[in-house]
Symmetry: C2
Subunit: 475 residues, 2 copies
């Protein structure tokens, strides 16, 4: 029996790995699937293709989404062409945004709409809104009148709001019936939406009165009235709420689902933990990418030209900041020509500053994201980081100063080294705290390009401080 | 009604913010709580203290954990001293590891064990194992014989395994009973563990046969036998499974809970989505921190001395790599003394390489974490990154070469600049892909210090390439 029980996850993982293996070890397989003739000297891939066809048929949509994400463009196209139409919508909604572009490339608007049809209406809307092609008009046209009105209502919510990720399908019950009635109603209904752990108790005009957990129904006698056992003070969200803050609340309260209500208290839909898990994955991932100036959309398998375009802007910015740093050194070329050792030593000052600054800014960006930092503790954090920098600067700056002294037999140069390191570490600490905080104050995402900015400042600052001090004290 | 409904989350958020505000705007409040005399010229904080006492009483444990995480040490101690003993265990389990140290500092082993007592046994064990104090022996001594055996069984699981985060409390039913019997059994039981969305169907000796969703119980007629409606092929985990991989499976299959079975198919416990959400937060957070050489345990509010110690090692490593880079430049001091412009230009080459390398390595580390990269596509990725680097190198290197030519009126210097940038971008791309992959092959976490390593390589490489080329072509 355990063998059967384990089949599920293990076998699926093996199936996923097998598809990747076949597609990646023999280029001819993808060509074969896509109908291009394989080169005559390549082993004919018919068997492999047949195997993939079987695997694709067997694997559920989320697994296919994972495999598609892990393939380069050509192989991705080949695999996608094997996915049956009725599965494509589900694969799309499970797949990362980074691969959408590739997947829908060869599909007509009509095919795409057909693929969306098996999905829940909220998922259809989400895809229609955010797929890299505007389908909203055509989707609306296919919907019945009443649904169209519902859709129009949620269209204006921001992509990172609760409204954009909420689920419309909710089960509502009245407060004045008994649990027996509720249970009969559920049996009649025959099925419940995924991740249903509670029903919503509303008035006739949809005003939310409370929530009725499935466990509550099961644990209480059937004659109990809903009103007596419902939770009349549940955690609710507004559609305008930020999705990351909703995620924190889900985590804090261990929620599986929660009601979304409009400003008048009417039930609009619900938020489920599976969407929240996606938000959490996406949120932290994006922070990581944004710090280094990587776009949230860049796919690790995107073709070269796309990747070049995605990184173009940040590279240009980086080049400009590097150029500024270079010009700062240029100001001191006379000093360097007098004492060429400065050229060897200056990257140490800049590098240590960059490293420390990046550590500080990473901590602050994450602490801001997790809402650990409030207005009241700004000054504490600045002072703390300055304290850490001062100690590290004195200790390690002292070490480097001594090494410099020994190396160049020049105590004054050693002293300048130590002083420059202390000062640049202080700059790094100060900026590492202030940049994300100022960005937040200005209403910007503190993660975006923070690493690029801090490195620019500590480089330029490091060169200026070190060469400036050298000019004053050594010439 | 909507006002009441919203009370919950909104009011709690306000309460949390209010505690932080009071504690952070007037240092005397924390001193007052901790029984130290406030300075005579500070406004007497009695009222503020009284307000905090009320708020602490009102706020649930997860909210208190959040507030504690957002406070500096002194204020944290003050707030913790106000948390009632019966709430402390719950706050501890909800709080980030980074603050455990601070919280338990003033508690005796006895107090701690008392605080743990209200928790589920799995949470008690988790804390006893991972709190920065060894409580396991004393905890075991307090447990009844049978529980002790169960505990001993899970003690050897790794911290990042399913075994360490699983929940022991499961409801099991037999396959040969009807749903009516199950429902009667549940009513008799009176309550179910949190996040119960399914019961587990087992044989008498605990071998897992299948799962019975609560919705299944509600949707089918009471006379249906469990055997007929149970899911006999559910997703299960082994206690040795990696928690991050389990999290991916939860995300893929939209699970709320899942069985954990031992190698013989016996049910050991279950994994719930609330633990999974914590794993996801922690996982991505740690990746971010590890890349820059920040320890996973560093708390943004840790006192200076602790922060210094936490960053000591990486700073030393960074200093060594910077020193190596400096010595590489030192090798070319003769070249620089002939052409001092090289000193100004070399950081551009190094900086661009560092930026590109960091972008590449971030993408690869995340793709590895999300299991998007398999052995089969290594070479594709290397070629792709090299392609991107080549194009960017030629374009931006060309631009910088032209600027250099204009600036120094030296076409050869411009040529060297372009060539050096192209080469260093290639080094950055190659190393950005290879470092994390080699680390993974060696069984190491590819995130740890990856940013520090790539920067060291692109700095040293950049200086060597640029100054080397200059020595060959310009002298």
């Amino acid at each position: 029996m355990p063998a059967t029980l384990k089949y599920n996850t293990k076998q699926r993982a093996q199936d996923r790995a097998r598809i990747l293996q076949i597609l990646l070890t023999n280029k001819a397989v993808a060509s074969g699937i896509l109908g291009r003739l394989p080169a005559p000297d390549v082993r004919t891939p018919e068997q492999d293709i047949a195997e993939i066809v079987t695997l694709v048929e067997r694997l559920p949509a989320p697994d296919l989404a994972d495999v598609l994400e892990a393939l380069p463009t050509e192989e991705r196209h080949a695999l996608w062409s094997l996915v049956k139409e009725d599965k494509r919508g589900h694969v799309l909604i499970e797949a990362a945004e980074t691969v959408w572009d590739d997947l829908i490339e060869d599909m007509s608007d009509k095919d795409l709409l057909k693929a969306l049809r098996p999905l829940d209406i909220d998922d259809q809307i989400y895809l229609a809104q955010y797929l890299p092609r505007d389908l909203m008009g055509r989707l609306l046209a296919t919907l019945p009148q009443e649904e169209r009105a519902q859709v129009r209502k949620v269209l204006h919510y921001d992509k990172h709001s609760v409204g954009a990720i909420m689920d419309f399908e909710v089960i509502t019950v009245r407060a004045d019936v008994t649990l027996a009635v509720v249970q009969r109603f559920l049996r009649l209904r025959g099925k419940v939406p995924q991740n249903t752990d509670k029903l919503f108790v509303t008035t006739r005009n949809k005003t939310l009165l409370g929530e009725l957990g499935l466990t509550t129904i099961l644990l209480h006698p059937p004659e109990t009235p809903v009103l007596k056992v419902m939770d009349d003070n549940p955690t609710c969200f507004a559609p305008e709420d930020d999705d990351e803050i909703a995620a924190r609340t889900f985590e804090r309260d261990n929620l599986v689902s929660a009601a979304v209500i409009d400003s008048s208290g009417k039930l609009m839909g619900r938020l489920t933990v599976d969407e929240i898990v996606d938000v959490v994955y996406e949120e932290t991932d994006n922070d990581l990418r944004r710090m280094g100036g990587l776009s949230a959309e860049e796919d690790v398998f995107a073709p070269v030209t796309k990747a070049v375009r995605a990184r173009w802007a940040w590279l240009a910015i980086n080049l400009c900041t590097a150029f500024v740093a270079s010009r700062v050194i240029g100001m001191f070329e006379h000093t360097i020509s007098q004492l060429v050792a400065l050229a060897s030593l200056m990257p140490i000052v800049a590098g240590i500053g960059g490293n420390t600054g990046n550590q500080t800014i990473t901590m602050i960006v994450r602490a801001l994201a997790l809402q650990h930092i409030q207005a009241g503790n700004y000054s504490f954090l600045v002072l703390r980081e300055l304290g850490v920098a001062l100690i590290n600067g004195i200790v390690w700056g002292g070490v480097m100063g001594a090494v410099t002294w020994l190396l160049y037999d020049d105590p004054a140069l050693g002293g300048v080294m130590t002083l420059a390191m202390v000062l640049n570490l202080l700059v790094a600490a100060l900026m590492g705290v202030l940049i994300p905080m100022i960005m937040t104050r200005l209403g910007k995402d503190p993660a975006v390009g923070s690493s690029v900015m801090i490195t620019a400042l500590t480089d330029t600052g490091g060169f200026f401080i070190f060469l400036g001090l050298a000019t004053i004290f050594l010439l």
